[in-house]
């Protein structure tokens, strides 16, 4: 089954399309419109209460690119007369803005469907939803696939399910060496967001509907905390909790109560899928964002042009907003969509190929300024925020080994499975990857001993990005528990988020294979 566009948006969609000629008031102006309606319901239960909250963001962004500047006018006054008046005032605002006399003019015109489809790298999941004989006045809708309808349960049923999960945690606690009393805070939270968006320009009229489902369980004992986070794009199949997940959460919580503090230093460590996702994201994800390159703020743009090597043969990083079946699970990765917020169709892109930097990701104006192809990375926090080049799902290409083979190769060291943020330094090429805690490995086997940071908190991997990428020794397959060849095409991705320039939060997938790193700085 696929998600369909909310029927209440059909009339608005037709009305918005009539504004394009108003926006293209001057020759050479490129007018476009982005509309979004994101309705989310989050339900939670903890030891004291249950909650249901509804959130909706809904608004339209009118856009004019005049060859120099991208102008936007964002509003939530969506009746036809208000929109028409606003479009006219907006045009006047753009006309009244003077450009520097010697600024460079780079005009842009809307790509036709023929242009779009001739690019040749559009995935089948997207192509299959585009009608044959498509024209500029054809309406195209992309809907996310789902197996179990995420709207099928009532709030009462969902809350009952969340309470059951909490009870399971409490009942299972003794199996992990904890008493029920040791669990000082327990919460389970489930959310569903229905995200409708529409993109319009003179050549295109398309919409998409995505179901974003997530479930989080947090356990605390005093100040120690473990969490489980599941989710993806699709239906309730994305948030199936296994009993072993809960037992692991509890065992880790007990382990944290008896953990040691890590002595800062250089270590051999295996990064699990979420941590490798964070590493890829911070290493040559942010540095490969086109607007950061256009602002002169990324070393990657210089290194791409010189072809200098910045990592070894294992260092291949991809960005892909078109993952609709991750890890063979049958549902979409958290950072996926069919088209970005500037109407560019999603496709896979190699950012770093065995240590050599390829062209960066772009959005409309960064592609124009850098003179390189557009990619589907124009995203914004919500309709009230500006658009930037943003990552979607960023990950390392898979290797050939199983996790057990990686553990044997590690021999003595740590495995890191639980993220605690990260930060980029695109110009200085420093990197920071946060780890909640480490699990000790001796002779290729887990000892059960956990380690926190030197001050009892998170651990940070830091270093010079090329050094870190050169320290990768091995990578696992996507299906790391099986020696058989991978059947999954794309890796599993965690439910993640990303901030840019210290603000501007967006969803991002975070995953990949396991990787073994040698002699990296942990502190």
């Amino acid at each position: 089954m696929r998600a369909t566009l909310s029927p209440d948006l059909l009339e608005l969609r037709r009305e918005l399309k009539t504004l394009i000629p108003i926006l293209e008031a001057e020759p050479g102006w490129y007018g476009s419109i982005y509309f979004e309606k994101k309705s989310s319901q989050s339900l939670s239960a903890n030891l004291k209460q249950t909650q249901v909250n509804d959130q909706v963001t809904l608004g339209a962004v009118l856009r004019i690119y005049d060859g120099y500047t991208l102008y936007e006018q964002a509003t939530d006054q969506l009746d036809h007369e208000s929109l028409k008046n606003l479009a006219r005032l907006f045009v006047q605002r753009v006309k009244n803005t003077a450009q520097p006399s010697n600024a460079v003019c780079r005009l842009y015109s809307a790509p036709t469907w023929k242009d779009r489809l001739s690019e040749g790298h559009i995935p089948e999941e997207i192509l299959s939803q585009i009608p044959a004989q498509i024209q500029s006045d054809s309406q195209v809708h992309f809907g996310i696939r789902y197996q179990i309808d995420p709207k099928k349960n009532t709030p009462t049923e969902t809350i009952a399910h969340l309470k059951e999960l909490m009870e399971q945690c409490q009942k299972t606690a003794p199996q992990a060496g904890l008493s029920e009393k040791d669990l000082t805070f327990v919460t389970a939270r489930q959310s569903l967001a229905i995200e409708d968006s529409i993109f319009l320009d003179r050549e295109t009229d398309m919409s998409q509907t995505i179901y974003r489902v997530a479930l989080t369980i947090i356990l605390m004992s005093g100040a120690d905390r473990t969490f489980l986070r599941l989710g993806g794009l699709g239906g309730l199949e994305t948030i199936q909790v296994k009993p072993s997940d809960i037992l692991t959460l509890l065992k880790d919580l007990r382990g944290l109560k008896q953990s040691e503090r890590l002595l800062p230093g250089k270590y051999r460590v295996i990064f699990g899928p979420v941590l490798t996702g964070v590493l890829a994201h911070e290493a040559f994800g942010h540095a490969q964002e086109g607007d950061t390159c256009a602002r002169g703020r990324s070393k990657a743009w210089e290194l791409h042009k010189t072809g200098e090597k910045v990592g070894n043969e294992h260092a291949t990083i991809l960005n892909n907003p078109a993952i609709f079946d991750m890890g063979g699970e049958g549902y979409g990765a958290w950072g996926s969509y069919f088209f970005d917020e500037e109407g560019w169709l999603a496709h896979e892109q190699v950012l770093l190929d065995r240590g050599i930097l390829k062209a960066p990701m772009t959005h409309l104006v960064s592609a124009i300024r850098l003179g390189i192809p557009r990619t589907a990375n124009g995203k914004r926090e919500n309709w009230t925020n500006g658009v930037y080049t943003r990552q979607t799902n960023t990950y390392f290409s898979p290797g050939t080994k199983t996790l057990q083979e990686l553990m044997s190769e590690l021999k003595d060291g740590f495995i890191a499975l639980h993220p605690a943020g990260g930060m980029e330094d695109p110009k200085g090429m420093g990197i920071q990857v946060g780890i909640s805690y480490l699990e000790e490995v001796r002779d290729g086997k887990l000892t059960g001993q956990l380690f926190k940071g030197p001050a009892g908190g998170d651990i940070q991997l830091t270093g010079y990005t090329p050094d870190v990428l050169n320290s990768i020794i091995s990578k696992s397959k996507i299906e790391a528990d099986s020696p058989a060849p991978d059947s999954a095409q794309h890796p599993w991705n965690d439910v993640g988020g990303c901030g840019k320039y210290h603000k501007e939060f967006v969803f991002a997938g975070c995953g990949g294979p396991y990787i073994l790193l040698d002699q990296v700085i942990l502190g």
């Binding site: 959130q55 002169g296 703020r297």
Partner: protein, 462 residues
Amino acid sequence: MGTRLNWNLTQLKTELSKRKEVKGWVISQEHIHRRERYFMQETRILVTDQDREVHAQNIDLHLFVRLPEKEGRQGETSKKLFLSLPLAEQIDSAIQAALQTDHQAWELPSEVPTHLPELRTTDPRIAEDIEKVMAEFTDRISMAVTKPRGTTFNSAELFISVHNKEIHLSNGLNHRSSQSRIYNEAAYSYLKKDPYGNPRSDEYLSTRWAVNMEDLNIEKLFDETSDRAEHSLDTIKPKAGKYAVIVDSEVLATLFNTQITQISAKNSYHGLPFIQPGDEFVPNAVGDLLTITLDPSLDHGADTTPISGYGIRQSPLKVIEKNRVVVSPTDQRYAQYLNLMPSTTCGTVVVEPGTLSYEELTREAPQVIEILQFSGLFMEPHNGTFSSEIRLAKLYDKEKGTVTYLKGGSLSGSFKENFQRVRFSNKKVKRAHFSTHGGSESSGEGYYGPEYALLADVSIVG
């Protein structure tokens, strides 16, 4: 959608009061007008990459409903309402959602505060003419960019907004307020050749929030950013060890606004880490003993307001005195849950300064590291630990009389441990921070306190 409907807040309140399930409500309406410009340099001229204007209106309903079959309990929900959608359907939906929930019952205040003070929350020049202020700041940025420097200007962002808000409570309280906000960031890079003739470059990015124009010194921000960019290539990695470390007001704002949640009544109720009145805020402290006040009346503070969201009068409240917790900040809900008096919960975190000058702080230990910028400071609110990569720092060596710039490596700290022997500088500064995570406009976090603090025995690895 597509047709304007004509309901208003009066109709909303009338409709809510007719519903038998409804026990009470808090309605919050906010109109935001924001202007944004994104600047960059192209062929040596300042160009505007993006130019945006936003008008947005949010109406949020927090609804309380009766649960007749559950004594001492009530239902609650939060829902965003839209003028473009039928009112009755939205109310029905909110009631249905609230009926599914289960909270310990509590009541809004029975008395409505009167004669609330007029506080300075908005820069009148921004409220009056946002375009004029945008033009003025744009000119100042243009001047700052054209100033001859050894560095290269990369980019800047300038956001200016006005937030007009009103809240309506079912106990009869109506209150209107406004707030102005300014955000400015600047990035400069520096390029030079290494001894082998290879070009090397690095950059520095500064960000700053303010509520009024005087609290944002654009020229100083650009000068400081350029200066730090220029030093970013003359750096070495720190040697691993434990150091005396100076952090600035931006870092202190994050640390204090996070750590202070551990004295809130909310933490006590939910079984989260809680420091109760009478206990030491920093165990076994022997340095400058902390005195902290929540001040909701500070001129142009990030969280300046005469009343809380539940209608409790807000006034300055000393919450920690000489390192002892005096009182738990408690809103109306947790006051009733825990049988406490409701108190101030909003306001800028005001920290009493110390006695030492900045220069004296740099000489307090044989080697002192001053953090100029962290890459990304992460603090865990429940255990008070924090860590980050070091983006740029200075190492003051008293014996050698040298100052060396540092970059790289990471710092791991703990509020409980590293503030035991803290020394504060004697000059106070004001800081503000706003975030919009999750799509809704948040209230701000404010700090007014020492510009610098010297922490002891901080673990650093190079």
